[in-house]
């Protein structure tokens, strides 16, 4: 009998692009034309979405719980910053490639050691890795600017034609949007592949994955390195778009923040990174204006509501 029925059709068609998947990108373009004065914020938002997307690969799909993902964001950010400051290497695209390579290599090396563990041990070790990098960046102030970071960096125009605009962020916004689209497509292909399917298997039952003969640790290390490289690209974009880098790119606040965003939006579904980052940052943006001293109260309230009534995040409320 040939495979047939709704179950097979749904499985075989899961990777196909749906019409509504164009909506976020159309909305992002609409923002560019409708809100030209908010593109600085929009650029930060897109960078954060990319960072959250990278976390979704390891947390949402492979089930690796990490509190140290900013290690890779920061590694990418400092790579781009130090190359521009000390080596005069300030061409943006090749800078991103360097950021991805450095962050990916750190991800590969640390993943190789760390991913023997799991659960709370792994959580603490990812935190330690990030703390080590943060403290290194702090102490090596001759190279990194230490606590003050590296302000006032300058980068060459994009493709030699579009200079960065530190006031209105118009070129940065589109640049970041295009890089985000590229990384998103890569992540999308990855999670729908057999490799991605095996990652969900590891997330759901690691014991059984061993018993079906999967090289579990190798798979985890590979996706950890890919995710790290993607986080490194996000960090590199941060440095280029803002023309500075400092220790905030490497801190626990950034790691925890992105984790909260992903849980808020819904992990293991790609678009949760978009929804979560937007919900969190937009709320933060406007609450901070309205109540400069107590805005975190609003964010906390939203988190409580999500934890109580939307255990799978905002996207989890939408029936598939």
């Amino acid at each position: 009998m040939t495979p047939s029925g709704a179950a097979v059709e749904r499985f075989a068609g899961r990777h196909r692009v749906r019409w509504w998947e164009a909506l976020p990108w159309a909305a992002a373009l609409a923002v560019f034309f409708l809100f030209p004065n908010h593109l600085a914020f929009g650029t930060q938002l897109l960078i954060t979405i990319l960072f959250a997307l990278s976390l979704d690969l390891v947390l949402g799909y492979a089930g690796i719980v990490t509190l140290g993902h900013a290690a890779f964001f920061g590694a990418g950010a400092y790579t781009v910053g130090m190359l521009a400051q000390h080596a005069g290497w300030n061409e943006p695209l090749s800078g991103l490639v360097a950021a991805a390579l450095v962050a990916g290599t750190i991800g590969l090396a640390s993943g190789f050691v760390l991913l023997r563990t799991h659960g709370l041990t792994l959580l603490m070790l990812t935190l330690c890795t990030m703390a080590l990098l943060e403290e290194s960046a702090n102490m090596a102030h001759h190279y990194t600017g230490g606590f003050d970071g590296m302000p006032g960096l300058s980068f060459k125009p994009l493709l030699g034609a579009f200079p960065f605009d530190v006031l209105y962020f118009r070129p940065q916004y589109l640049y970041v949007l295009i890089v985000l689209l590229g990384c998103f497509l890569l992540a999308r292909v990855l999670v729908h592949s057999s490799f991605g399917q095996s990652l969900t298997g590891i997330r759901e039952n690691i014991l059984r994955m061993h018993a079906v003969g999967a090289p579990v640790r190798a798979r985890l290390v590979v996706v950890y390195a890919i995710s790290a490289a993607m986080a490194g690209v996000a960090g590199g974009l941060f440095t280029q778009a803002n023309a500075y880098v400092n220790l905030s790119t490497l801190g626990l606040e950034r790691s925890a923040g992105v984790l909260i965003m992903l849980i808020l939006g819904g992990h293991g579904r790609l678009y949760g990174a978009f929804v979560g980052a937007i919900a969190y940052m937009v709320l933060e943006h406007f609450l901070a204006r309205a109540y400069p001293t107590a805005w975190q109260l609003g964010v906390g309230l939203m988190l409580i509501l999500v934890a109580l009534y939307a255990r799978n995040g905002i996207l989890g409320l939408v029936k598939r």
Partner: protein, 252 residues
């Protein structure tokens, strides 16, 4: 001197501290065997399965697959050599559908599990093989449902479908019928009956009815050691076995 068995243990011992859970176990599983391993609770039956599959490393002794020493091989490597198992307590991908559960196993066996670019939905070979097993275990109607939402008995069949998806040469079933309504246990036996004859099947089971319907050879374990071995008729007639284990199960 016999020819090499399909799967064999020699002087296998395993202890946790002072507790000996396997003592000098010499066990042979032949090609085409339909072999049952029985014994009271705590006799070490699951330990043997764990030693055979590489989940546990023995304290002493060797495990041979077709005469070749696989004692040092990790679990995943032994799976590639054809040793598959099911678990006494379901070990499933609970958040995924039945079809996905079986596809994950089949994809690993066909070497697709590491492929990053091609969508899993386009691996027609994987889907076809998974669907064949799903049909065989009468799970077609549940194929699109999440495993966690199935009745326990149906989940047991998914457990077996995953193992069969590995196309094993040695199949170790750890209490496969536990939790399956007795009216449905024939689905399990029918599925085993359709397996190629040369596969060796070892079943650990408490359901004596199932054991005597299935097995052509029975090994009885007590306190970590092999206590008796023989055909079902020999085991049923063995007074010592009856006194230590079977008790009244065969009376009347």
């Amino acid at each position: 001197m016999n020819a090499a068995a399909l799967l064999e243990t020699r002087g296998l011992c395993k202890s946790f501290g002072a507790l000996e859970v396997a003592r000098e176990v010499d066990f042979r599983l032949e090609r085409g065997a339909r072999h049952a391993l029985i014994g009271p609770n705590g006799a070490g039956k699951t330990t043997i399965v764990n030693l055979l599959t590489g989940v546990l490393q023995p304290s002493r002794g060797r495990v041979l697959l077709e005469g070749e020493d696989v004692t040092a091989l990790a679990q995943a490597k032994r799976v590639k050599r054809g040793i598959a198992r099911t678990f006494q307590i379901n070990q499933l991908f609970r958040g995924l559908t039945v079809l996905e559960n079986v596809c994950i196993a089949v994809a690993e066996r066909l070497g697709a599990g590491g492929s990053m670019l091609r969508p899993a939905g386009k691996r027609a070979d994987v889907i076809a093989e998974a669907w064949r097993l799903i049909e065989m275990l009468k799970l077609g109607a549940d194929a699109g449902g999440r495993v966690a939402e199935l009745p326990y008995g149906r989940q047991r069949l998914v457990e077996i479908a995953i193992a069969l998806g590995l196309s094993p040469r040695v199949l170790l079933l750890d209490e496969p019928a536990a939790g399956i309504p007795s009216a449905e246990s024939h689905i399990l036996l029918d599925a085993i009956a359709t397996l190629p004859q040369e596969i060796g099947v070892l079943i650990v089971e408490h359901d004596m009815d199932l054991v005597f319907r299935f097995a052509r050879r029975i090994t009885v374990m007590v306190s970590g050691a092999i206590f008796a071995e023989g055909t079902p008729a020999e085991i049923a007639a063995n007074r010592e076995v009856r006194s230590v284990y079977l008790g009244s199960a065969l009376d009347g």
